[in-house]
């Protein structure tokens, strides 16, 4: 049976991981793409969160805003996840030993869960209240929680750089 550490080292020992680790340009390049895409994820989600909290874009129905913004959010998230995966496999063992990395992954899952709960449960009767400025409590909670989680994700991301030497 394949153990987790064998699975991890399969990727970490690959030629791709080796290139990212050794090439002076590749690591910062992928990191920059990661930063750009995370900024788009966080910034675009904030537009939705502030609307849910009743703090911005009050004259627009919630559904119109999510329709306009979420395609950008998801595209950016795909790029962030792909670039993050490339950075991860370059030093997988070290990342897995880093508490901030593990916290970051868990926080992203929590942000995803928050979104699933909102769209799946709280937003079931969206058309009834999406035009109002002050939204029901579950919607406001989802917006507030999302902001807190994404701030924590970015903070953990930055802290990884100070607690783990990859170069």
């Amino acid at each position: 049976m394949l153990t987790l550490s064998e699975f991890i080292s399969y990727f970490e020992d690959s030629a791709l991981a080796d290139n990212i680790r050794e090439n002076d340009l590749l690591f910062p390049l992928i990191e920059s793409v990661h930063v750009v895409s995370i900024c788009l994820v966080v910034g675009s989600i904030l537009v939705i969160d502030l609307r849910l909290l009743g703090l911005a874009s009050l004259n627009r129905p919630v559904g119109r805003i999510t329709n306009a913004i979420l395609p950008l959010t998801w595209s950016a998230f795909a790029v962030a996840a792909a670039s993050g995966l490339l950075l991860f496999i370059s030093n997988a063992t070290k990342y897995l030993e880093n508490g901030y990395f593990l916290a970051k992954v868990l926080l992203i899952c929590a942000a995803g869960l928050n979104m699933v709960v909102f769209h799946g449960i709280s937003a079931k009767d969206l058309p009834r209240w999406e035009n109002e400025a002050a939204l029901p409590l579950p919607a406001r909670l989802a917006g507030g929680l999302s902001i807190l989680l994404w701030v924590a994700v970015v903070a953990c991301g930055r802290w990884i750089g100070f607690t783990m030497q990859v170069h």
Binding site: S32, V35, V36, C39, S44, A56, P71, W159
Partner: protein, 168 residues
């Protein structure tokens, strides 16, 4: 000549009590960087959303003027937070930026981004559908939006690259 003066300035800055405080506690620099990145996320996304609207990729049913009024005014107070956290980071580690050509490249790109944003905000506040008007204006608008996207991405890339090109 300039290099020597800058190096002296860095030494002076690094010796100030503020600089020593910033460096002394391990959590201050990552905290400043986190606030800095979150602010970048707000400014960058605001600019990109407006650029994408100019390309008619989202909110096509809303006049451009309304989109710029919704997103661009946020940029200015957040830019102030960016300048503050950025300045504190420079005071904490002056050599990291002031003796680093990547930092000056980033500032030059920022100047271009600011000029573009002001021009866009002004043109759409006086006539909301200015860039949707004639064919020439549509093309010019899309050109400006593309330049804006490239310049903002350049700023973020340069920001990350400062860490890799800093003087010893």
């Amino acid at each position: 000549m300039i290099g020597a003066g800058l190096s002296e300035l860095c030494n002076w800055l690094a010796a100030t009590p503020l600089s020593q405080t910033i460096r002394a506690a391990g959590w201050i620099i990552p905290t400043l960087q986190t606030i800095h990145i979150l602010s970048v996320a707000v400014v960058f996304s605001s600019a990109i959303l407006v650029d994408l609207r100019i390309w008619r990729l989202l909110e096509r049913d809303v006049p451009l003027g309304e989109i710029t009024r919704r997103f661009l005014p946020t940029i200015w107070p957040v830019l102030f937070i960016l300048l503050t956290t950025g300045s504190l980071l420079i005071v904490g580690e002056p050599r990291r930026s002031l003796l680093n050509s990547t930092f000056y490249f980033k500032m030059a790109l920022l100047a271009v981004a600011i000029v573009l944003t002001v021009a866009l905000q002004r043109s759409t506040s006086s006539s909301p559908s200015f860039w949707d008007g004639t064919r020439i204006r549509r093309i010019a608008g899309r050109f400006a939006a593309s330049v804006s996207i490239l310049v903002w991405c350049g700023i973020l890339f340069a920001g990350r690259w400062i860490a890799y090109t800093q003087a010893g």
